[in-house]
Subunit: 199 residues, 2 copies
């Protein structure tokens, strides 16, 4: 397969590529690195990326930022940024991408652990995660041409433990190898409308 991985330079993207790159052709896209440049908050940028990528069998998105901060001082503008970046950005990758993926192909988005197992300062992150999980479940029933759509919801990845030191008390880190397997299940398997939880 030809697989486009958006956000391929991040921890989750690298996990997906480490697993799927053994058997498939990988094209990476990112804000600042990768084979192609894309700004997922910009629909025109997403369209240009797909035009350059050509026909593909699968899209994996591991991209997007959310706002972390205390609930009591969180502003609507801060909250909106996470909605427009990680949430709407990934949704637009799916809405536009479904016209570029070959028949029977797949789209896999990335959510996260925070809606299942909330942490302080994580209200925006949890909201975005829950939204992505709900989107793939609903979108799956309307996908054309045998296309599938799923989400991978990884727990705190071992490589990220130091970066998020103190933010995830008691969370049991998951290996990037297990996260990579979830992407393989979504891309190479037959399921659709599923959230693959790695915890």
């Amino acid at each position: 397969m030809r697989i486009l991985v958006v956000g391929g330079s991040g921890t989750v993207g690298r996990a997906a590529i480490a697993e799927l790159g053994r058997r498939h052709e990988i094209i990476t896209a990112g804000r600042n690195s990768g084979d192609l440049r894309v700004e997922i908050a910009d629909e025109a940028s997403i369209r240009a990326m797909f035009d350059k990528a050509g026909k593909i069998d699968a899209v994996i998105s591991t991209a997007g930022h959310v706002h972390f901060g205390p609930l009591t001082t969180m502003t609507g503008e801060q909250f909106k940024k996470g909605l427009l970046d990680k949430l709407l950005g990934q949704v637009n990758l799916a809405l536009i991408g479904l016209h570029h993926v070959n028949d029977g192909g797949s789209i896999t988005l990335t959510s996260g652990v925070v809606n299942r197992d909330p942490i302080r300062q994580g209200a925006n992150s949890a909201t975005v995660d829950g939204a992505i999980d709900a989107f793939v479940v609903a979108a799956a029933i309307e996908m054309p041409r045998g296309l599938r759509i799923n989400a991978v919801s990884p727990g705190l990845i071992e490589e990220s433990v130091k970066i998020f030191d103190g933010y995830f008390p008691g969370h049991e880190p998951v290996s990037s190898a297990r996260v990579g397997l979830a992407f393989a299940k979504s891309v190479e398997g037959a399921l659709t409308g599923k959230v693959f939880i790695i915890e």
Copy 2:
């Protein structure tokens, strides 16, 4: 209690008021009707509403619009409208409202059935519903002064069956009386971070 019901003129708002109005003082707010006017997509309008409402013991939000339409022709702009109205609007009611609700009070948002039981043309609705459910679960752990926050997720309400004719095949309608009880559980009960599913 003094309870502010935003969206009080809609089907869900009327269900909440029919139950809670028997025992409490109700102040209604809406886009085009009610004791106070509010545009929930506008933070300044939300702030003005809370200033006019004075001190309250509970906020109930049953407001917000989403986009219904086929996935394959849905645009990012259409999707964004639902995110900014029903989702960010209700989140902003909570983020601003938590500074106006008396100690030990509550905030209750409204999501819906579509993320649990998806329908065609419902991808935006499902996403917003899932996001609201996730938001209250995460926000609850950071609420100050003993404040609580929950969501009510009603199924298709009997009064709405004709309006949504054909959109919800096989959905078993729920009575507005049962939906009203869910709001009573949230406002008068002690639970927080919960999604009260009425189906």
